[in-house]
Symmetry: C3
Subunit: 465 residues, 3 copies
C-alpha cells in the first residue's frame, strides 16, 4: 500500500473535501517559488551527486535528530553528528529506520514519505526490516544523472530558489552559477548576523573582515555602515532581493548617531554588557530597515529563538543541532522604535515571522493589518506543519486578510524535501479555503483566485521575484 | 447570485449543520439587546438622514481603513480621514469598492454584505465595476424616511441600545430622546477615561470641568470622588446601567486614602512619572469598583490596547484610526488588589474583556469560574469574528461554563452593521452548540435553552436591562 | 433517555466517527493505570463505606464548588465547606442538583453523568426535581459491600493507583495496605512542598519534623539533604516510583554548595526575602533532580498556579477551595539551570505539566522534543477536558510526537470519577487519532498501535510501573 494517499491533509467531511480537491488540482502543477531557505549554492554550482542516504536525509536535518536524541536510547554520535570520521552511513540509516515510528503525526514523516515515494518510488513503510531496501534503492538512484542538483531543480519545477548567505560570503558559488549559463535561478539572501550580532562567534574579527572585503574602515561607525551598504549591493548584483535577520528578540532601537557610534565602539571592543549588546542588535535592525528603504531589499525578521539552549550539546556539537527553543516574543513594544522611523514608508517591505503563536492574533495580524511596510511570513520552523498552517490562517486572516501574507517558505536545508513541503502548504491552503467555501464564508470563485495568490502571486510580489 | 447563503457560518458536516439550523431558527427573530457600543445618541435625538455611503460606511470604520492603509497603495487622505474639506464621497467609495477583495475572509466582509443585501437589496458583489451601482442605490435609500435612525432602530427590532459617553458629556442628547416621547430605549454608559487617566489629553482641565459640572472642588481627593459619584448618578438617572473602563493594562491598586490623595495631587499637577500615572489608573479602577458596589452600576473593564501605536499617523489624524495594537495582559496579578477589596461582594458585577486570547483559558475562565463578581465579556474587537467567537467558547466554556458569560456586544460605531453583527453571533453560538449536541456532549433540549440564554437572557441579567 | 450516548465525544463526521469507534473499542477494556492522583490510601487501608452523596461528590470537589460559588447565589457554607458541624448533606445535595445546569459544557458534567449512570444506574437527568431520587439511590448503594473502596478498585479494573503524600507522611496507610495481603497496588508519591517551600505553612517546623523522622540534623544543609534522601528511600520501599513538585513558577537554580547553604539558613530563620524564598524553591528543584538521577524516582513538575488568589476565602476556608488561578509560565529560561546540570542524563525522567497552554507549542514540545530527560504530562487541571485534550495533541504532536508524552493522569480526589476520566481520555485519544487517519496523516494500523500506547504502554514506561 502506498504511503501517500491522494486526499491526504484534506478535511474528512466529504463536501469540504471535494472543494479542497478541486482547489488543490488548480494549483498542484504551479511552479515552486522558494524565496527563503538553506540549500547550498555550491550544489548547483558544482552539480555533483548527493552523498549517501544518511548524509542526505539524516545528518543535516535537526528535525530528525532532535527527535531521536530526545528518546534517550539514541546518542548524537550514532547519528553521525559531530566528528564524522569512521561514520558508517548504513548504520546511521538503520538506527533512523528502526526509530521511524517516532515521527508518526509529525511533518517530518509526511515530507520523508513524499520524497521516498515520489522521488525514489518506494512504497513500503520504512522500518527496521525495510531499512536496507531503502538504503540500497536510494543509493542507487543518487548516482544517476537525473538525481544531480540541477536536474532535480528542473524536475521539481522550481522557478526561483533563494539561499541564505553570510554577509561575509564571497558569493563565489552564486557567481559561478551565473557564469555557467545554466538557466536555474538561484539567488543569494543577505544574512548579516556574523557582523551585526556582538554575541556571534568572532564578531570583532568578522567586522574587520567585512572592512577588508569592501575596502572600508569598519572600526568607525560610518565606515561600518558603508561596508554594510556595499555588501548589500553585492548581494543585489547577484540577484538577491531580500535580507534575513535572526535575532533573539523583536527589539529594535532608534538611537541618535552619537549614541549608536558609542555603542558600536563598546561592542567592538568587547567591553559592553549583555544589555548593550542587545541594544546594538536592536539598533542594527533599524539601520537595516533604513538601508532597505534606500536599496529596496525586502527585510525578513525571524525573532524569538533561544539558540543552543543545551549547553553540553552546544559545547560538543556546536550550533543548529536541534537545541534551539522558542521564547515568548513581544512585537508591539519591540518593533515600535523601528516603526517610528520607517513604519509609513511606501518603499519598504518587512516580513515578520514568529515562533510564538500567541502573537498571531494579538500582535502580528493587527500590526500587519495597519502598517504599510509590514507583511506576515508563513508559519515557521516548528509550525511549518499541517496544524501550524491551519492555526496561522485561523488566527491571522480575520484581522490581516490574505493579502498581508506572503505565501509559503520552505526554509529547508533538505533540497529533496522542497516539493513535499510546498505540496503540504498547497494542500493546507486548499483545506482552509475549502472550509471557508463550505461554510459559505467565501465564494468558490474567490477561493480559486486566492489559491493562486497564496501559491504564486503573493510571494512574487512580496519578495519582488 | 446573492452574497448571503442561508447556511452561512454553520458547520459543513450535514448532521451538525441541521442542528445548527434548528437552533438558529429558534433565536433568529429575538430582539436585539445591545448593551455596549459606540453609536451616537444624537442620531436618535435628531433623527436626521444618514449622509452619503462613504461617510456612513467607510470614514468612521477603522476596521476598513486600517486594512486599506496597510496595503501601501492607499493613503488615509484618499479615504476621507483627517481634513475632509473637498472630500469626494463617490471617489472614496470607488477606492473602497475596488479594494473590497482585501476583506475576503474577514468579518468586515460578512457585516457589509449583510447590510448591502438585507438593507439595500443589492445582491451583486461589490467591485470596481459595481461601485457606482452601489453608491447610487444606497444614496437613494438613505434619503427615504424608513432609513432614518429611529425607523431603523425599530426595523432592527432593537430592545435596548447603550451608547458610550464621556463622564464630561452633558447627556443632552439622551435627555432629548427621553423628553421626545419616542419609545426607543437608548441608554448612556459612563466612560470616565478623560477624568481618571492622567495620560488623557487635557486631564487636569477635564478634572476641573468635572468639578464645575457637579459643583465640587475636584482639586481635593474627596471632592474629586464626590464629583465622580454625582456624575455616575446622572448617568443612572438617564437609564444607564453600566460603566466602561478602557485601560492600557489590567492593573489595579489598593492604596490607603493618604497615598491615593498624594498620588492624585501628583497626577493633577503633571509632575508624576509614568509609573505613578499607571498606579493612579490602577487605583481608580478600585475606586470605581467601590462606587459600583454602592450604586449598582455594572463595571466593564477593557484592558490591553496599545493606543496610537503609529506615531506619525497619530500626529496627523488623531485617535481611533486603526493603529491600536493589542498587548499581552496579566489579569491574575493585575486584578488582585481590586479583588482583595471587592471580589466577594454580592452586589457587584465586573465584566472582563480581553485582546489577549491566551488569557481566556489560563486566567479569565478560572477567575470568572470562581469570583462571584466576575463575568466574561464576549470576544472583543479583532476577535468579534467567527473564529474569534468559536475560540472564546472553546477556551472558556469547560472552566467557566456558559453562565459566567454575558451574551454578545456589537461594540460598533456603525449603526447599520448592528443586525449583521448580532446575526453572526447567533449563528456562531448555534454552530458551537450544534457541535456539542452532535458530539453528544449536550442534549438538544439544553442547547435550545442555551441558545435563548446566550441571545437574550444572559445579557439582560448581566447588564440589568 | 440515558445521559450517556455510546458515541459521545467522537467527531460528528461519520467516516471519522467510525474510525474513532473502532479505535475506542480496542482500548475501552484495558486496565486503568493511574500514576498521579489524590485519592487517600486510608480508604483502601480501612475499606470503609463512603459517606453520603454530598460528602462523596460535592464537599471535596473544588471543580464543583468554584462554579457554584462563582454564581453569586450560592455561599460556600451552603456547600458544607469550612466548619461542617450541623451540615445537612441532603440540603447540600439539593443546592447542587438545582444548579447542575451550570455545568453544561464542562467536564464535570461528563464525569458525574458517567458515575451516576454507570455506577448507580440512574438515567434521569439531575435537576431540582430528581435531587432526592438521586440522593436516595446513591445513599442506598453506598452502603452495599460492592461499593467499598477495595471492591470498586477491582470493579474499575485498576492495575495501579498512585496517591500523593507529604514528605512528612508516615505512610502508615500504605504500610497497612501492604501488610493486609490485599492485591490492590496503591503506591505513594513523594510530595515535598511542606519541607522545600519556605512559604508553606510552618516550613521551619516541618523541616525540624523531617529531621526527627529520619534522624538527621536538618538545621544543616547536608543533614537536610540527607533527610530528604532517606524520605525518598522510604517512599521507594513502599513501591513509590515518582515525586511531585507543585511550584508557583518553573524557575530552577544551580547554586554552589556554599550559596545554597547560606540560602537555606536564611529561609529556615524566616529572615529571607520573597526573591530568596523563590530562589530556594528553584534550587530545591535542581537538588530533587540530582536525587532522582541517584534513586531513579520519576520527577513530576506542576508549575504555574497562583494558589489561594482569593484572600478572604483563603482566610476563611483554607487551601484547595477553588481559588487557584493559572499564570503565564516561562519554561525556557526557568528550567535552564536545572537542565544545564542534568538535562542530558540517561537515568532521569522529568514529566512537565502546564496551566499555560500557550507554552505547549512554543516551549514544552520543543523542550521535550530535544532533551532526553523531558517528557510531557497530559493536559492538567482546567485542561483535563475534551477541548483541552484535543488542543494538547494538536499543539504538541507535530514537534514532540506521541512518544514524548506519558498517557493520562486522572489527578483526582474523587475516586468515583476515575473510570469516567479515563473514559474521556480514551475517547479523545481515539477522536484525535481518528482525525489523523481520516485525513490520511496516519495509517489505521498505526493508530491502533498508538491507541494502545497512549492508554497503557507510555504510562507504564514513563512512570516505571
Amino acid at each position: 500500500m502506498p504511503n501517500l494517499h491522494p486526499d491526504r491533509l484534506f478535511p474528512a467531511d466529504s463536501d469540504t473535501r471535494n472543494i479542497a480537491r478541486r482547489l488543490y488540482q488548480s494549483i498542484a502543477q504551479l511552479p515552486i517559488i522558494s524565496p527563503h531557505g538553506h540549500t547550498q549554492a555550491q550544489w548547483f554550482a558544482e552539480d555533483q551527486p548527493f552523498p549517501d542516504p544518511a548524509h542526505l536525509f539524516i545528518v543535516p536535518d535537526h528535525y530528525i535528530f532532535r527527535m531521536l536524541y530526545s528518546q534517550r536510547k539514541i546518542q548524537m554520535e550514532q547519528l553521525g553528528i559531530g566528528d564524522s570520521k569512521g561514520d558508517n552511513p548504513r548504520e546511521i540509516w538503520r538506527v533512523f529506520a528502526s526509530s521511524y515510528y517516532l515521527f508518526r503525526g509529525t511533518p517530518t514523516r509526511i515530507w520523508l514519505d513524499f520524497a521516498f515515494q515520489e522521488l525514489f518510488g518506494i512504497e513500503e513503510r520504512l522500518t527496521a526490516e525495510t531499512a536496507d531496501l531503502y538504503y540500497d534503492r536510494i543509493s542507487e538512484k543518487l548516482s544517476a544523472p537525473e538525481f544531480r542538483p540541477r536536474a532535480l531543480y528542473e524536475r521539481f519545477n522550481i522557478e526561483v530558489l533563494s539561499t541564505t548567505d553570510s554577509a561575509l560570503d564571497s558569493l563565489q558559488a552564486h557567481q559561478q552559477i551565473r557564469s555557467s549559463g545554466w538557466k536555474g535561478r538561484i539567488l543569494p539572501t543577505f544574512r548579516p548576523d556574523a557582523v551585526v550580532d556582538p554575541d556571534f562567534a568572532n564578531f570583532a574579527g568578522n567586522v574587520k573582515k567585512l572592512g577588508a572585503m569592501y575596502d572600508e574602515d569598519t572600526e568607525t561607525w560610518d565606515g561600518y555602515l558603508r561596508a554594510l551598504r556595499k555588501a548589500r549591493a553585492r548581494f543585489k548584483e547577484l540577484g538577491g532581493t531580500a535580507t534575513d535577520h535572526g535575532h533573539p528578540t523583536a527589539n529594535t532601537a532608534n538611537l541618535d548617531a552619537a549614541s549608536a557610534q558609542r555603542l558600536f565602539r563598546g561592542v567592538l571592543s568587547g567591553s559592553s554588557s549583555a544589555a548593550e549588546r542587545e541594544q546594538f542588535r536592536a539598533q542594527m535592525l533599524t539601520e537595516m530597515a533604513r538601508m532597505s528603504v534606500e536599496d529596496g531589499l525586502v527585510m525578513q525578521i525571524h525573532p524569538g529563538s533561544f539558540r543552543n539552549h543545551n549547553e553540553a550539546i552546544y559545547r560538543k556539537f556546536g550550533r543548529d543541532v536541534g537545541a534551539d527553543i522558542p521564547t515568548a516574543t513581544n512585537y508591539v513594544d519591540g518593533l515600535k522604535p523601528l516603526l517610528d522611523v520607517v513604519g509609513n514608508e511606501q518603499n519598504l517591505t518587512i516580513i515578520l515571522f514568529t515562533l510564538d503563536e500567541s502573537a498571531y492574533g494579538r500582535e502580528l495580524a493587527p500590526l500587519a493589518g495597519h502598517y504599510p511596510c509590514l507583511l506576515l511570513g508563513p508559519p515557521w520552523w516548528f509550525f511549518d506543519s499541517p496544524e501550524g498552517m491551519m492555526r496561522f490562517r485561523e488566527y491571522t486572516t480575520e484581522t490581516a486578510g490574505f493579502y498581508n501574507t506572503v505565501g509559503f517558505n520552505d526554509d529547508t536545508r533538505a533540497f529533496l524535501s522542497i516539493p513535499a513541503r510546498h505540496d503540504v502548504a498547497r494542500r493546507m491552503d486548499s483545506a482552509f479555503l475549502a472550509k471557508l467555501v463550505a461554510e459559505h464564508r467565501l465564494d468558490e470563485d474567490e477561493a480559486f483566485d486566492l489559491a493562486q495568490e497564496l501559491t504564486n502571486d503573493l510571494v512574487r510580489r512580496a519578495y519582488k521575484l
